[in-house]
Amino acid sequence: MDFNINNFVESFIYGMKYFPNTLRLVFIPLGVGLVLGTAAALVRVYKVPVLCKILAFVITVYQGVPIIVALMIYNLIFMMKYNDFAAFLHLKGTIADVDQIWIGIFALSLTAICSISEAIRGALLSIDKGQDEAGYSVGLTKIQTIYRIILPQMIPVAIPMLTNHVVGLIKASSVVMAIGIIEIVAGATIPSSRTYSFFEGYVAAALIYWIFTVMIEYLAKILRKHTGRFRRNLYD
């Protein structure tokens, strides 16, 4: 077996150079997903008429779409239509001025919203209905009850599921290399196309992802202990 350690190190360094791109591809969708996903989950749990039915349908259907297929379609539409769109809005600049990473962020955000809203919804449903009633009975409004009573209890329940989704996002972010965005995998294989050491390149990429996900899981464990400390070790 021929494993060239020098090529491996070079690939590792190249991969780390594009690590910030992966961070953007993970944490911007995560932020969007947390805000809009929580909103969608609240709409569905508190059964806002019409909207909750539409969201249930859209989220269920969209979860059936593989991220790579969605990405290819968005990329295609973007390539074909951006110039028309920019002309329509009188924007300056053409397609060449737009960083393609935003297509990846857009696709990953949609996926994140769907999966995170499911996680938050599960956590919200785990909170007893009596908690809402208790909140109303002491004169809190609906918003106050959600914000002060329900959300703080929901967070420690949601964290394990959310961690899975963050790890899922990290892993999903690798598919954006298919439309030419350079992140860890594409970065780590830049030296490989010169030296033809693709195996070393992908081992380097795998190692970076592995370290990253193990770290995230460790951080989540600490965070859950911290946010759930009032639960008297129910889940620890």
């Binding site: 349908f57 059936g64 593989p66 795998a206 996900t213």
Partner: protein, 244 residues
């Protein structure tokens, strides 16, 4: 350049893409069947706590869960020849079709993911059940088959279903190593006719139908296997298959 999307092209593509659905299904089929075998093997190691193998299995599962499917696919695609060729003097990159690498990747990947599901299912059954079985004179093997396994399947079923949905979606990556599945076919249609959007949209519809069908199937199985008749509280017994 004509219109971006045209229904006539969409319907023309259907007979061209549909035959390649078998490739997607074969990847999922082999991945699940041999993945289950590998997972059972890993769970046995972890429950019996066999030394050295136990640590190896932990690292293996962590690696498979912590790295993207895409990277694993590429690692197998470039790594398997790098390991096997010098040993046997073959050149498997040329001799094997690309889909074999996809099979190997999905079997290894599913083995790890399913082992986690099975392990937590086995450990969710209280040890008292095993003791009860042994105390009435069943052998260890009989206890497992008759007492533990039926309860375990019930617990493992919902996560197994969502894993299967994920597996179908993950199989859409194999076109990146040159396997012609429904995505790969869409790409070849695209390069032949310069119109790829219709083919992609058809693929999306196929994936959505598969995902909904798998969910429906597992919702039904879950209901059929509910021996408690809904007495068990806190479970998902009463949930409709699309939760509103």
């Amino acid at each position: 350049m004509g219109k971006l999307f045209e229904w006539s092209r969409f319907f023309e593509n259907i007979p061209k893409i549909l035959p390649y659905l078998t490739v997607t299904f074969s990847i999922v089929f082999y991945g699940t069947i041999f993945g289950v075998l590998l997972a059972v093997f890993i769970v046995l190691i972890q429950i019996k706590k066999i030394r050295v193998l136990y640590q190896i299995s932990k690292v293996y599962v962590s690696f498979m869960r912590g790295t993207p499917m895409l990277v694993q696919l590429m690692l197998i695609y470039y790594g398997l020849p790098a390991i096997i060729d010098p040993l046997l003097g073959t050149s498997i990159n040329r001799d094997w079709s690309a889909v074999v690498f996809a099979y190997v990747t999905f079997i290894l990947n599913q083995g790890a993911f399913l082992s986690v599901i099975f392990y937590s299912a086995v450990t969710s059954i209280p040890y008292g059940q095993t003791e009860a079985g042994l105390s009435v004179g069943l052998t260890y093997y009989q206890t497992f088959i008759r007492i533990i396994l039926p309860q375990m399947i019930r617990v493992a079923l919902p996560p197994f279903g969502s894993d299967l949905v994920g597996l179908f979606q993950g199989s859409s990556l194999v076109f990146l190593i040159g396997v012609t599945d429904i995505m790969g076919r869409a790409k070849t249609i695209g390069s032949a006719t310069k119109h790829v959007l219709e083919a992609y949209v058809f693929d999306v519809i196929i994936y959505i139908i598969i995902s909904l069908a798998v969910r429906l199937l597992f919702w039904y199985l879950n209901k059929r296997l509910d021996y408690t008749n809904g007495r068990r509280t806190g479970g998902k017994e009463g949930t409709p298959w699309i939760s509103t």
